[in-house]
Symmetry: C2
Subunit: 224 residues, 2 copies
Amino acid sequence: MPQKNMAANKDKTIRRILDGATKVFAEAGYSGASVDEIAKAANVNKATIYYHVGDKEALYVRVLHEVIGQTAAGIAARMNNSMTPAEKLATYISGIAQTVENYPPLPPVMMRAVESGGQILSPEVAADLMMIFGILLEILEQGAREGVFIKANPFIIYLMIIGAVAFHRNVEANWDQKPELAMLFKQMDPDFYTKLEGSFSISVANEVTRLLLRALEKQGPQKD
Amino acid sequence: MPQKNMAANKDKTIRRILDGATKVFAEAGYSGASVDEIAKAANVNKATIYYHVGDKEALYVRVLHEVIGQTAAGIAARMNNSMTPAEKLATYISGIAQTVENYPPLPPVMMRAVESGGQILSPEVAADLMMIFGILLEILEQGAREGVFIKANPFIIYLMIIGAVAFHRNVEANWDQKPELAMLFKQMDPDFYTKLEGSFSISVANEVTRLLLRALEKQGPQKD
DNA sequence: AAATAGTTTAACTACATGGTTAGATAACTT
DNA sequence: AAGTTATCTAACCATGTAGTTAAACTATTT
């Protein structure tokens, strides 16, 4: 099966490698993932990985950069300068949720990135993370400047958002294997889990947004 | 140096093993931790671990059970039935923060536990996690019943708390190695990071509590 | 003191894993 | 078509790791 040209083939190979690596890293973490397993998942000889990308750490950094970079880009794309801070916050949260939805391996990878606190992280990845965080920072600052948001620690808000969205997606992904756990959660908040239109992630995003807006807005909705 | 008796010596050995294992698991995760390393950290021969505790997974489960169980117990101990839901929530959050403060390896271990979504978890550990969550559930239900809290998804609240407290502790722990990151955060919210009395974790807990109470209380503090 | 049971250790095994190499194959150039 | 370069592969190597074993050592019992 001859290809158009070498470059295209190369790109396809690298694509396969990165996809396989993302999947395996997401499932098993950095140490838990083996290069052999990644090679198998990518349908590629192991040496090809070393030829195209480099060693395991280089591969990991590349995956992180791609995954987190996509998230940052996705959020930025949805944002609009004419929005109010509240609208922007809603967009921000649902943007993260949406990316998580489209890109299931993201949460564990992202969590490990934050978790390591900059240990394994390359400057590129750190920049990606800072970009995601920076968007939120601006929203909160604008809100405070305009007098619609109270002052609050932005990093804590950030962690609350990531924690809720990423963890929830992750726990939810394991519901198949723990049906009794799923049942329990659904009993706890039937409204939430039964009449969800669209996806879980979106519902989670909506709930997180509702709560954070109540927390941040100077005159929030009083009755509920 | 002769010991009182064998039983005491045995307990001390197991104690050393569990402490060493907790530390190494926290730093490196399950796959990243090697039994040799744990043995070294515990000043114990590797075979002694297998003799007293069992294989790597048994050791991990035991560590998880101990760490998470301590958290649950610590929170429960601080709680008091005569408290209002708001007071209970504050106690709950600061209880988690306090345990995290006293027990630094907790966040990464706990995160991996939640993260794995019940995959590696033993029934015992699952029960511990459910106990911690159950306390929050009761608080929220009481608040809703008494009409002081709005209805909200308890699991999401839970994830927001854990996310903020655990992540923050973790990132903060790496500030030594990334001083520019620490500087950045401190610039972002100077009030928060400079005039903190006591510890970071307590300050974080206070901020999380403030935000969540604003989010949950039907008539929260209007002006701020 | 001898015997016994509980505890610890050094040495070892089997295997998985990260990484390499030399050669094959396919693509591009002339 | 021949030669050159980029891409890929099977086989291999060195090391690290989970787990075992048999023997040494220590406390307890008789």
